[in-house]
Symmetry: C2
Subunit: 585 residues, 2 copies
């Protein structure tokens, strides 16, 4: 594996770089690559894309010969007389890198080598000819490499091999046919921003150690609140480690708002509380209630209609019922984009109920909040401006790299009062700058990862209209899928009507069970179809989509589209693939 330092190391031609691979494969690959990329990049890529060929890389016999001393050519594939220090990674250790003396050149060569591996992986990930996953069962994968930690250091060559091995067995989340989660795709500006964030390696708790990032968080949260519709973008908020924690923050704030004494005195100072959310809501509401000492039994599940939306009349009924039983209703979590159906609860009607009973209204828009960026779709969240708090995860529908979740709060100062502990070693009150930027004490965390820069830089790069276009396109694709399968033979939709988000929930019925008359028997068979097709998808590595049961409904596919790389063709592919893999079942 040659080194491709940015000061023009490397540049072997393909023939000199076959390593332990079979020459014919490599040559074929190189020829394809040379055609695909201009200006000598083909042969470079050819060298880089060894990534797909590493097997048991920790075995010495499989180690790639350290050819970084090749020299004599620059990257242009023409011979010239560069003089450059050869770097042989098999002789180097991490202690030879910065901050070691005179290690700048070695460090940069090493990091560049890693970047070259990553760049090759990125290009490969977007290639539809590549597998989404090279799947192995856990015990197989444990044996595929030496993953154990040792007493002794490994060489940098081994480190590079470990990087290649890790990527070889990773899920290609950027792949245009990866639909498995609500967070898919890989944005190039977001990625660049995340690399910068890692390099800056700081903490969000004070302005002192994260001046720019703290300001960018301020600017971005304000913008998000404006989009929600709060006057002048006023209010508060924080980026937290994921939607579950954002939802937990909301519940914590709601409790504190109603019973501020709970902070000092705990739940024993408070009557029995009741929280309300739809039966289709995310499990984090119950998880939060368990953690906060409220208890899962105090989370009352409100009925949803056939398409998954909370029924406001049932909410009111259950609030009254809880009050009669002596509970104090303190928190309603409406969902804007449920996890499975993608349903949007009717926020205006829910807000009327919340107002009537003086209950905190939270909107869990982890999945659907991003539709606020779309003029075409934001009506689905009408009433969101009446909420007391909103969870909105840019790492889902906006394709910001993981993690990036915001909690937005309408009341200023509440988070600070709820969570502050006045640690005097961190939030000194006699600093020389405006302390309102030391936002750390409003967090549950002490140190807090910088999640803002990737969102801010992507927003800058796309503009609001760019995010809008990206979101609208995903919704178009899901509508295309819905229209394609709703009347297609062998498909049944899980609920009627056009989905509101990109979730399309359906059963695929293989020919063998399509006309079964015994309904129970048919159901039993159908339950097994999706898991088998999914397992086959993973083994072939062609695509990935999620499935689950829900209530009395047996396993069905939940297709979601948040991947900006996906196209109409990929939707067609998915359907063909499901049919190919499931026809014999």
């Amino acid at each position: 594996m040659a080194s491709h330092g940015f000061w023009s190391l490397g540049g072997d031609n393909a023939g000199a770089n076959t390593g332990s691979q079979s020459p014919s494969t490599t040559r074929a690959w190189c020829q394809a690559a040379a055609q695909k990329f201009p200006g000598g990049i083909g042969s470079k890529l050819c060298a880089l894309l060894n990534v797909g060929e590493v097997e048991k890389p920790a075995e010495p016999t499989d180690k790639q010969p350290p050819q970084t001393e090749a020299g004599g050519t620059c990257g242009c594939n023409k011979s010239c007389n560069c003089t450059k220090a050869p770097v042989v990674f098999s002789d180097l250790y991490s202690t030879d890198l910065l901050p070691a003396m005179d290690s700048d050149a070695k460090t940069m060569t090493f990091l560049q080598e890693v970047v070259d591996i990553l760049l090759a992986y990125i290009v490969e990930s977007f290639d539809r000819e590549t597998k989404v996953i090279d799947f192995h069962y856990p015990n197989e994968l444990l044996q595929k490499n030496n993953w154990e930690l040792q007493q002794e250091p490994a060489t940098l060559d081994d480190i590079l091999i470990s990087c290649r091995a890790t990527l070889k067995y990773a899920i290609k989340t950027a792949h245009p046919r990866y639909f498995n989660q609500l967070s898919t795709g890989l944005d190039m500006v977001g990625l660049a921003a995340d690399w910068l964030t890692s390099t800056a390696n700081t903490n969000m708790f004070t302005y002192e150690v994260a001046p720019v990032f703290v300001l960018l968080e301020y600017v971005t949260l304000k913008k998000m609140r404006e989009i929600i519709g709060w006057a002048d973008g006023r209010g508060d908020g924080i980026f937290s480690p994921g939607g579950a924690i954002s939802n937990m923050y909301a519940m914590l704030l709601a409790r504190f708002k109603m019973f501020p004494e709970v902070k000092e005195k705990g739940m024993s100072s408070v009557p029995r509380l009741a929280a309300f959310t739809s039966e289709h809501s995310h499990f984090s509401i119950k998880k939060g209630a368990a953690a906060l000492g409220i208890g899962t039994e105090s989370v009352i599940c409100i009925k949803a209609d056939e398409s998954g939306k909370m029924i406001p009349a049932d909410l009111e009924r259950r609030i009254l019922e809880a009050k009669q039983k002596g509970f104090v209703p303190f928190f309603v979590s409406a969902t804007a984009g449920t996890t499975v159906y993608g349903a949007f609860d009717p926020l205006i009607a829910i807000s009327d109920v919340c107002k009537k009973y003086n209950v905190w209204m939270h909107v869990d828009g982890a999945w659907g909040g991003s539709l606020l960026m779309s003029r075409r779709h934001r009506w689905k969240l009408d009433g969101v401006d009446r909420a007391n708090s909103v969870t909105w995860n840019p790492h889902k529908m906006m394709s910001v790299p993981l993690q990036c979740s915001a909690l937005l709060v309408r009341e200023e100062g509440l988070m600070q009062n709820c969570n502050q502990m006045h640690a005097c070693y961190l939030f000194q009150q006699d600093k020389h700058y405006d302390l309102s930027y030391d936002t750390g004490d409003k967090a549950l965390q002490c140190g807090r990862h910088v999640d803002i820069f990737k969102l801010w830089l992507m927003w800058r790069a796309k503009g609001t209209i760019g995010f809008e276009a990206q979101i609208d396109k995903c919704l178009e694709l899901s509508e295309y899928l819905y229209n394609k399968i709703k009347d297609r033979e062998g498909y049944e939709m899980v609920f009627n009507g056009k989905p509101q988000h990109t979730n399309v929930c359906f059963w695929y019925l293989p020919p063998g069970i399509r006309y079964m008359e015994d309904k129970e028997e048919r159901k039993k068979h159908l339950h097994k179809v999706a898991p088998v097709i999914k397992a086959r998808m993973m083994e072939y590595g062609t695509t990935m989509v999620s499935y689950q049961p829900q209530g009395d409904k047996v396993n069905f596919f939940r297709m979601v589209i948040s991947n900006p790389a996906a196209s109409f063709e990929d939707i067609d592919f998915l359907i063909e693939e499901i049919e190919r893999l499931g026809q014999d079942l």
Copy 2:
């Protein structure tokens, strides 16, 4: 700004690349760089290190001319006839990058350009001639750049400018003289691993979407439990978003262990609980108690001795007292390495008390846990193997990039029982692989960032002995500092005796107050000294160290060393700098 693509773009000589800078400065820099780096890298660096020269980068007049089409030379500074596609970033937008058609080359050039900015920043960060921070007050910094988010997209040129501006005003956390937090320094292998993690862009909740990372978490947690001393590394654990959350997990588990019904029924089903921790412990214990509905008043602060260690006799006394008052003691958090003094609570004596009263023993080793890696220092945590849970943050003393915090738990299965909610769309029970690797349901989070790879890769690169050497060196440096100032004129130690961790707490007394007789007057003056010196440090940008009051002790410096780049010379510098900046006070 020239592009330095890995397929050998760029390579202008210095003269051709002065941009908007003053030629004399640039020329001087280039000459120095050319001497410092071999093989043409000097002029490359010269071009890259524009990073320090950007002012108001969003102003069009200051934009760097897009010279990426320069061509005609490879990186070796010799003319050759490369043919390569010119990339003009001022004409390109994020929509021109992947997944756009035929965007591979543009994408790689763009990412390479970002990497070049990062590499230059890294080299600069380790240079003692560079400022730790180019400090600006918040309102100044807001005006230094156009940070606002717009409707319309920005060009990729603007994005690169934003990256440079962000780094220009960032803290250089890798700088050898950055001592401000418990997390300092920048490890090159850790950084490479974090770049890879961002590129893989996945979530820890299931084996399905993070096969390698889930296995590496398993391997690493097991290794950490072995080091704690639990038989065969058995037990459980998780990487969480920071020590505060790890500590909160511990409290949650302790409560659940004693009263499993709390999960469903909440705190109203449970007697009033009491938690115990030393008066020097981290604020996250109280924060956790507030969040979990236990209440801060139920956290009983145990007296510490003069050096900051919890007094076990006082713990026992307070446990008995709480029981008498009808509280149920359920949780003791001993601190292994307090935040300010670096004190290690006596774990064996504390464990005896915990055992006697059947109370969960947690060890908050966020800061000091890493000393378990050192044969010379691990005795300070003797008794840690008796704990029920241990917080250990590799992002502190082990210099793993932020964030990387582990909670280790002795009892297997407890986390799962405590936190699981059985979300059937994520943790399907009919998957085709061993479900014990789907660890997501034991977390409070749903999606969880991949924090493991940087630790695992660093461990591999250093070996256990490498971490040990790094930790031992930091402790040596702090001993050097302690010995240097303990009898030096103008210094007073905050507590007597050699510190146990790298924390060295001291007052610097400027000559003007050194012989003040009025003790109250002297104290009043002294309280103001550290904040002023710190403010001056930041304005000069030469070094950064923390200060705070504690109890009745007025503001003092808390020097901590976790930065592997620091040397004896940097300790000398710190003392000289404090004296230089404080002598007139």
